[in-house]
């Protein structure tokens, strides 16, 4: 019996060591130690043996099975190791060849700046309000306290659809619309497209502007300067601050033009700021009581401020774009830079 087992063991050894594939090895495994293998049918003879011989017999068969199993495991490890080595040889990689690209597009630089402006103000509790581009004279001029003979009302300055329908010249129109619908407290910005009848290197007939309006009890000029400076610092850098120059706008009193320290030279003077160290950024002021009165908001109880900034201009400064016309040419070699 021992001999027979040895025979099985020997033939298993030689066959297993010959094979070189995992698949073949699996087949050999079932042939030698599987349920239908010679070894297992050998085991079945146990019942015909006298009781006292059974344990020794069983032990012998199991030992043989264990030996074959070990041979298979060793063989498997060898095959896997050699397969692995083959893989290392065959999978050649040139690390300098380009990877598979997922082409990425780009947001327009105006959109990038537009979003950043919205996000800064949203984080300070402002709402973003919208209004129509095609407006009436009331919202664009009358409600903003513009005198009937104001030059801005001329055809040479403003695009008209009809006598009292026009393309808005500033997004202040949205302030009026918001104050018509909502009573204070109001805290909004209104970014949007505006139109003026002019077209040259530094002026586009369609351009983008953002206006801010805050109306509540106790809103002061100091709040205006504070919020504006926070915005400028977040938009450009901590080094940027602003100064106000007295000016005239029909809808604010007092009114001011806003200058900021030149973002290019930080005030030293350069070609962008034309040596002055300052850049003109927009207009600001305290909402004129006439505007409140026109909209039936108690101008004794409430005060407010408003300011307007050019989005396109901020984009040009931020990305150092030299010519406004580039913004609307939509050359992908330009667009993909942002």
């Amino acid at each position: 019996m021992k001999e027979e087992l040895n025979k099985i063991l020997e033939s298993a050894k030689s066959e297993i060591n010959k094979t070189g594939s995992i698949h073949e090895l699996q087949q050999l495994k079932s042939r030698f130690i599987g349920k239908k293998s010679g070894l297992m049918s050998f085991m079945k003879q146990i019942s015909s043996l006298p009781k006292e011989e059974r344990p020794a017999f069983g032990q012998l068969v199991n030992e043989t099975k264990q030996k074959i199993t070990n041979i298979i495991l060793n063989c498997e490890a060898e095959i896997k190791e050699s397969d692995y080595k083959k893989t290392l040889k065959s999978e050649f990689i040139d690390l300098t060849m380009p990877g598979r690209k997922h082409e990425k597009g780009s947001l327009h630089p105006i959109t990038l700046v537009w979003r950043e402006i919205e996000d800064i103000f949203l984080s300070m509790g402002f709402d973003v309000a919208e209004g129509p581009d095609v407006e009436d004279e009331f919202h664009n001029f009358d409600a903003l306290n513009t005198p009937p003979d104001h030059p801005a009302r001329n055809l040479s300055d403003t695009f008209y659809i009809e006598n009292d329908v026009l393309l808005r010249a500033q997004t202040s129109t949205v302030q009026v619309r918001v104050m018509e619908k909502h009573k204070p407290p109001i805290k909004i910005i209104s970014p949007g497209r505006c139109y003026r009848n002019e077209n040259d290197a530094s002026h586009s007939p369609a351009f983008h502007q953002v206006e801010a309006l805050v109306v509540d009890e106790g809103v002061t000029f100091a709040d205006l300067r504070d919020i504006l400076n926070i915005f400028l610092k977040k938009m450009f850098s901590e080094n940027i601050s602003s100064r106000f120059r007295p000016h005239f706008f029909p809808f604010t009193e007092p009114s001011a033009e806003i200058d900021i320290i030149c973002v290019n030279c930080l005030g030293k003077g350069c070609n962008i700021c034309k040596g002055s160290g300052w850049l003109e950024m927009g207009g600001a002021g305290m909402v004129d009581p006439n505007v409140f009165d026109m909209l039936e908001i108690d101008s004794e109880k409430y005060t407010g401020y408003a300011f307007g900034l050019g989005i396109d201009r901020i984009a040009m400064l931020k990305f150092k774009i030299p010519d406004m016309r580039m913004l609307f040419a939509n050359d992908v070699r330009f667009l993909k830079q942002f």
Partner: protein, 796 residues
């Protein structure tokens, strides 16, 4: 903590149902965790009368009673020694329930029994099981026992926040309610009569640890009779979940529940040396406690001891060596206060949590000790008899001065916007027993009662005011307004972002357009896009109108870029279009327009370049629509004249066309000098928003059983659209067929003209079982049969 409605009513004359009381408590800061009706379990137990009693012929200990239940006479077998003719008893008829035990008709030693005569223990009224419960002769026959005994009550489980130890007793809760409901608080009236003997003659008190025991009041009563408590007392305790033990112990528990301050009674005869000593334990000192455990103590633990042994772990649990037993005649009544942090430490270390430790842990007041000592003594004299010894032994080394807190009514208004006159504010706080000491301009000085140690600052008083005023009665003012259309705002950004990550570059064009563009695009005269806003003073004729489509602008951008050698283009613009007919101002809508031309992907050395085709533009459109939660859309052949015939699709959602996409007709492309194949899409975003509210996904359970995948391949006439084919397949068994994925279309001259071969991968799965091969095969057969019937398919 549990309180009962009837007990609460003892101190405040409320008339609220349990729902109303729950609401009052919850909104004054005392959360009600649960409400339980008491007496409910006894609702079938009625008062009966034994009209006849004879002995059971087969059993000495049993008797046969005939019980009158008010309507009928029933035979009941009873084993109690004390049952007798003409007694009024508690009767549980057949069908009633005692706890989990249901009363049924039974035969006892051959005699039938229709119900049960109950003992107090069986009724859950006390531990007495010596015999049946005997009721007074005037108990009304046939009436419910629970209502006769006034057992009907409602208990409320309250969550007391850690800052309010004063609410750990029912009086505290009543006080808050009295302030809230503006009802008087009826405190128990306490008066004591004592005998001639002085307490000092019988007992000595030594407080050796005054840093841990800030007060200790001892009273003594001699000659008490220890027995069961009267029914009213047991009832009160049961209603709040406490087990009646004996009259003296029950009284200490009763007073604890009243005032929220625990007390303890010792058997005087077991006190060695006739001494009470408050001291720290010695190391390894042991005490056999009332919970039948023996605890080993350490040096920092605080105990109450007599001359030779510990008799209680201070504030936590008493010892069995000194507790009240039926033999007790003389008692020492302890009312004390202990350092809360120390109680918490010991309780945690020894893992003992008792009603007493729960309360002492929360920093009780020293002053209450004296009050509860009197109250308990009064009740003991009333209920257990005996004589009170004169005086008390009182260790109170550091009485605290009363605290004064200043309230500025202006501050109340500033913080809460509650503008009330001083009188109202004072009345709120006086309801909580704060005493106004002094009143100046905008300054109210309040003396804080001893039981409210939590009120130390002005802000604490302001909190009490708003609690009584009602948080939800504070008027609100708009501080911010919902001016912004957030949905459209963020959706526009999302669409832009999807396009950018799919390789599109955003363009921005002026809003002006050339009226000729509408002709170039073959837009019919009757089309909405012909209703344009014309500018009176334009920059030139090619800028004479406001654009009603974004296409011409993007075409011009494409021409420019191709001219500059950029032939692979993916561009989009998201901007306003304008329509104006009869209205004064224009209708303005946001449109999203995209254009694709050239190769789909940048050059990659491993793969051949692939030209953009119809399904690329459809893919991006589908992605955009999905991002707006639009899934149930249909695609129909577009009638737009600028698409190559048959290669343009309109997107239909709820019967409305919300956009289109397809291949630009090469003839039109040529008019723009565009030689490349151009694909375009245009979506009306505002139309989409007007048709559908924002939707959120709802969770669906994830399949527990593995899915089965099968492929299906057949030849089918081109007249059948994919959508219809998929429908037929799904309909065969919508519960099991989870997905039908097209993975190949094959058209060649080997397949007959007008036909195509389609291959699908089908996904099957069930929520309830693993699908067998046999089941799947049968299902597949049915699917094929359905397709053959409807579309005349040929299997491949």
């Amino acid at each position: 903590m549990r309180i009962s409605y009837n007990w609460l009513k003892q101190y405040i004359d409320i008339n609220l149902n349990s729902k109303e009381l729950e609401e009052k408590l919850t909104f004054s800061g005392i959360e009600v965790e649960s409400i339980e009706k008491i007496g409910e379990e006894l609702k079938h137990i009625i008062i009966g009368k034994i009209v006849e009693k004879t002995s059971h012929p087969q059993a000495d200990k049993l008797s046969i009673c005939r019980v009158d239940d008010g309507t009928d006479i029933k035979q009941v077998i009873c084993g109690a020694p004390n049952c007798a003719k003409n007694q009024k008893i508690a009767f549980a008829p057949v069908g009633s329930k005692l706890g989990e035990f249901k009363i049924k008709k039974v035969k006892l030693r051959g005699e039938e029994s229709y119900g049960m005569i109950c003992s107090e223990q069986e009724l859950g009224i006390s531990d007495n099981h010596d015999g049946i419960m005997i009721l007074p002769d005037d108990a009304p026959l046939g009436k419910g026992l629970a209502s006769y005994l006034n057992l009907e009550d409602t208990s409320f489980e309250l969550e007391i926040t850690p800052n309010r130890p004063d609410l750990l007793g029912i009086i505290g809760v009543a006080r808050d309610l009295s302030a809230l409901l503006k009802l008087p608080l009826n405190l128990p009236k306490i008066s004591l009569k004592s005998g001639k003997k002085k307490i000092e003659e019988a007992l000595a008190l030594e407080n050796e640890a005054s840093e841990l025991c800030s007060r200790y009041v001892a009273r003594m009563i001699e000659g008490v009779t220890i027995c069961e408590s009267p029914a009213w007392l047991k009832k009160r305790l049961l209603a709040v979940g406490l087990r009646p033990i004996n009259n003296v112990v029950d009284i200490t528990n009763f007073v604890m529940m009243e005032y929220g301050h625990p007390l303890h009674a010792f058997d005087y005869q077991n006190l060695d040396g006739k001494k009470i000593i408050v001291r720290r334990a010695k190391n390894e000192e042991k005490i056999p406690a009332l919970d039948e455990e023996t605890y080993t103590l350490e040096q920092p633990d605080l105990i109450i001891a007599d001359a030779s042994k510990p008799i209680a772990i201070a504030g936590i649990i008493g010892g069995v060596n000194s507790h009240i037993t039926s033999q007790t005649t003389d008692i020492v009544l302890e009312a004390a206060n202990f350092n809360y942090a120390n109680i918490r430490r010991i309780s945690r270390k020894l893992k003992i949590s008792t009603d007493s430790s729960y309360r002492f842990e929360r920093n009780l007041s020293d002053e209450t000790a004296e009050i509860i000592s009197k109250r308990a003594a009064q009740l003991i004299l009333e209920i257990a008899g005996g004589t009170l010894l004169q005086g008390t032994l009182d260790s109170f080394p550091n009485p605290q001065k009363t605290n004064i807190v200043t309230l500025r009514p202006s501050r109340v208004e500033k913080l809460l916007t509650i503008k009330e006159d001083d009188k109202t504010l004072i009345s709120y706080l006086e309801g909580l027993e704060l005493r106004l000491q002094k009143q100046e301009k905008d300054k109210l000085y309040f003396e804080i009662p001893f039981f409210r140690k939590d009120l130390t600052r002005e802000i604490d008083l302001i909190e009490e005011i708003i609690r009584l005023h009602g948080y939800n009665n504070v008027e609100t003012f708009h501080k911010s307004q919902n001016i912004m259309n957030k949905r459209s705002f963020y959706a526009r950004r999302k669409l832009q972002d999807i396009l950018v990550s799919s390789g599109f570059s955003e363009v921005i064009n002026w809003s002006f357009a050339d009226p000729k563009d509408l002709d170039s695009l073959n837009i019919p005269e009757s089309d909405e896009r012909r209703n344009v806003a014309k500018i009176k003073n334009p920059l030139g004729n090619d800028f004479a109108i406001m654009r009603s489509t974004l296409l011409p602008g993007i075409f011009k951008n494409t021409i420019l870029n191709i001219y500059h050698g950029q032939k692979e283009l993916k561009l989009f613009e998201l901007n306003k279009v304008f329509f104006r007919k009869d209205e004064k101002l224009a209708t303005e809508k946001y449109n999203l327009t995209g254009l694709l031309t050239g190769n789909l992907n940048p050059i990659f050395w491993k793969e051949k370049p692939k030209e953009i085709d119809f399904y690329d533009v459809k893919g991006i459109v589908e992605e955009l629509l999905t991002s707006l939660d639009l899934v149930d859309v249909d695609y129909v052949t577009s009638k737009e004249n600028y698409f190559q015939p048959g290669s343009g699709a309109n997107i239909i959602f709820r019967k409305n066309c919300i956009g289109n996409f397809g291949k630009l007709d090469p003839k039109i492309a040529q008019t723009y000098s565009l030689e490349q194949t151009i694909f375009i899409f245009e979506l009306s975003i505002d139309d989409i928003f007007s048709l559908q509210e924002k939707r959120y996904p709802t969770y669906k359970s994830i399949a527990k059983f593995p899915p089965v995948l099968r492929d299906l391949s057949f030849v089918i006439s081109k007249e059948f659209m994919l959508k219809d084919i998929k429908n037929i397949i799904f309909k065969t068994n919508p519960k099991i067929i989870k997905n039908v994925v097209l993975f190949d279309e094959f058209i060649s001259n080997k397949i007959k003209e007008g036909y195509r071969s389609l291959t699908f991968s089908l996904v099957f799965s069930s929520e309830t079982k693993t699908l067998t091969d046999e089941f799947i095969n049968n299902l597949l057969k049915t699917i094929i049969a359905n397709l053959e019937k409807s579309c005349n398919i040929e299997m491949r």
